[in-house]
Amino acid sequence: MYKIITKIELNPTVTQMEIHAPLVANKAQPGQFIILRVDQDGERIPLTVAGINKENGTVKIIFQIVGATTNKLNHKNVGEFIEDFVGPLGEPTHIDGLKKVCIIGGGVGCAIAMPIAEALHNQGADVTSIIGFRNKDLVILENEFNACSDKLYIMTDDGSYGREGNVCVPLTEMLSNGEQFDMIITIGPLIMMKFVVEAARPYGTPVTVSMNPIMIDGTGMCGGCRLTLNIDGKRVTKFACVDGPDFDGYQVDFDEAMSRSRMYSDFEHHAYKDSCNLFRKA
């Protein structure tokens, strides 16, 4: 059992928790993920590490309430326990030697992008961050990004905060003005990452994307998280849990990944509705 140490509502649909898991905290690095189960018989869901405190033995997670499991998790409070918490899984984001980097986060993906931006900042890299949200109410981690970014662009789809438009707008502006980055690291909805790759393609800037597909065990055993990379004209199957979660954005078959991510959407919709009803009665 793993204790919830802190809980903060970052916006109406996004919550941050610190979980006491010393073994995981001792090893975790930015870009890695954990798998948790809220309660017995619960679903195993992967969440990327959003912060690590080795001294206190805690791991920070930030999640959007999108389905039954995240809804159940959000109903847990400080001092309560979650059933299982295992990690760190996957490979850390490779940031060694990077000197000028553009970090692009979308929605709750910003939670994962932030510790990477922080780590880059700490190693002395020049960090440009672009974070995008649907509207003003959903903006998270603005102060944190400010603290570790040399330049910060906040974008909203409706223009209610920061600039209007998606994350590709400032990226394209910078690239077309001749700005050069060692690497673009992007984390967010699949469709956003796909468009970031397309925006960067004409300039040949390397793009790292963070994939977060459906998973069960997280150790390579089930193969449910598989995705297809196009490498030198060959289609190669990779497992996001052990080979990733970071991949070369130019190689990822995003259309297939998007299709696979909707495999259980009908089921999930019903499960979410049921979980809402459950808490309503309670």
């Binding site: 073994l23 090893k27 018989d41 295992v86 069960i216 497992f239 052990v242 078959d253 696979r260």
Partner: protein, 469 residues
């Protein structure tokens, strides 16, 4: 008295009933049947059957105790060699092991050794109130990686010898493949849980949610004071065929399908983890895992389940009993067929059509058997222009697994072979001092009992290693 030429039939649920439930198919011998079956044993002096058992159970001896009606004593004899008798009695391929060496088998059917083993273990679990005593500690600490059959066996033997054993399990439940892989109708979860509890009573500490190679490394285990490590991490990564369409929605590895059903309890109606149910299902492969997947799909409500296998019935690697059960339950065997493509739905006029990307069928080609290959199995050859399509909604790929690289990648000096299996000596010793390994992590996908045998050998070697130091 003439010996009954046939072994006593195993009472089973009738196929039409069991195809709709997850209860155990084989119901087990009654006392009367067990004693009658035990009477068939000739009690050969040279005990050929024992040589066919990877853990060398004294088979004629335990069977003679059944004849006497002394079931607890029979259990004690099995326990000397096996930590998991209720499991082995159910899932061992006895027909190719102990029973294949039975003297009776030369002219008649061999003694039903597996069925008798199961009877004894079940009798003990139901009737014995004895709680195993925790042996006095010898002060040595040993770490076991993985709580599958090899790890549990190694842990059990070491605990009985006085070692302080900690088992590290990556998943949230102990049991490894016995829990995530083998379905309830073949090996009830309660039986695995009972065996795990017995180990805990012997003092074995089981730590779930620890991935060795990630959460902790082998070297860190030594730093924590463990003096020897046994790696029984299993054969992790599922193989795919590399044919078009394997990433369509509705295509599973057998590992994923069975894990969703078994470990995440979709079979139990657990609403939290989804699985594709109903419709038509094709399982690709012919091993025990393929049979498990096919029969699980049937029980989850599939209207039609095919096994697609590229060789003929004679080459099916699954146990005879599993194949017979599958046939009786109505699984349709498409033998001498090999998949060439998985077909999916695609609406050219509407990219947002929700059916896009879901499986609609599997295209196969007919095969014939050619000359035997290096292993002596006849090589399947495609028959030109013989493609046909099976209409299915779900495809389950069950063509084996490869060892998981997590431990190899984080352990300096741990040597593996070209297939990724950890290289060990006869005693299970790896290329690292104090590090032993066994089971599928060494051999690639094999049987529960061979993994147990490896765990047993390693436990003995670890005991000798630590006794010398």
């Amino acid at each position: 008295m003439a010996i009954n030429p046939k072994k006593h039939d195993m009472p089973t649920q009738t196929p039409s009933v069991r195809a709709n439930n997850f209860n155990e198919v084989a119901l087990g011998y009654t006392q009367e049947i067990a004693i009658a079956e035990a009477e068939r044993c000739l009690n050969c002096k040279n005990k050929p059957c024992v040589s066919g058992c990877p853990v060398n159970i004294d088979i004629p001896n335990f069977i003679s105790k059944i004849k006497d009606g002394n079931f607890e004593e029979a259990y004690n004899i099995i326990s000397l060699s096996s930590s998991l008798p209720a499991v082995c009695g159910r899932v061992c391929p006895q027909e190719t092991q102990c029973e294949s060496k039975c003297t009776l088998g030369i002219k008649l059917e061999p003694v039903g050794i597996g069925r008798l083993e199961r009877f004894v273990a079940d009798w003990h679990n139901e009737n014995s109130k004895e709680i195993p005593n925790k042996p006095q500690s010898n002060g040595h600490k040993v770490a076991v990686v993985g709580s599958g059959p090899s790890g549990l066996t190694c842990a059990g033997d070491l605990a009985k010898a006085g070692y302080e054993v900690t088992v590290f399990e990556a998943l949230h439940t102990a049991g490894g493949v016995l829990v995530y892989g083998i379905p309830e109708f073949r090996l009830p979860k309660s039986i695995v849980a009972k065996e795990v509890d017995t180990l805990k009573q012997l003092g074995v500490d089981i730590q779930t949610n620890v991935v060795i190679g990630k959460t902790l490394t082998i070297d860190e285990l030594f730093n924590m004071g463990y003096e020897a490590v046994f790696i029984g991490s299993g054969a992790g990564l599922p193989n795919f065929m590399g044919i078009p369409g394997e990433s369509l929605k509705g295509v599973y590895s057998a590992n994923e399908f069975l894990t969703r059903s078994n470990l995440m309890k979709a079979y139990y109606g657990n609403p939290s983890t989804p699985i594709m149910k109903g419709g038509k299902v094709a399982v690709v492969g012919g091993g025990n895992v393929a049979m498990d997947a096919a029969r699980t799909a049937l029980r989850l409500g599939a209207e039609k389940v095919y096994i697609v296998y590229r060789r003929s019935l004679a080459e099916l690697p699954a146990r005879n009993e599993e194949v017979e059960h599958a046939v009786d339950e109505g699984i349709d065997f498409k033998l001498l067929c090999n998949p060439v493509e998985i077909l999916g739905y695609s609406n050219p006029n509407n990219p947002r059509d929700e059916k896009n990307g879901f499986v609609t069928g599997i295209k196969c080609i007919k095969m014939q058997l050619g000359e035997p290959d290096e292993k002596g199995r006849r090589r399947p050859i495609e028959i030109p222009d013989s493609e046909f399509v099976l209409d299915v909604d779900t495809v389950i790929i069950s063509i084996g697994t490869s060892p998981n690289p997590l431990i190899k990648n984080t352990t300096d000096g741990l040597e593996v072979n070209s297939r990724g299996g950890i290289i060990v000596t006869e005693d299970g010793l790896t290329s690292r001092e104090g590090v032993y390994a066994g089971g599928d992590a060494v051999t690639g996908a094999a049987t529960v009992i061979s993994a147990m045998g490896a765990g047993k050998v390693a436990a003995k070697a670890i005991d000798e290693y630590l006794s010398e130091n």
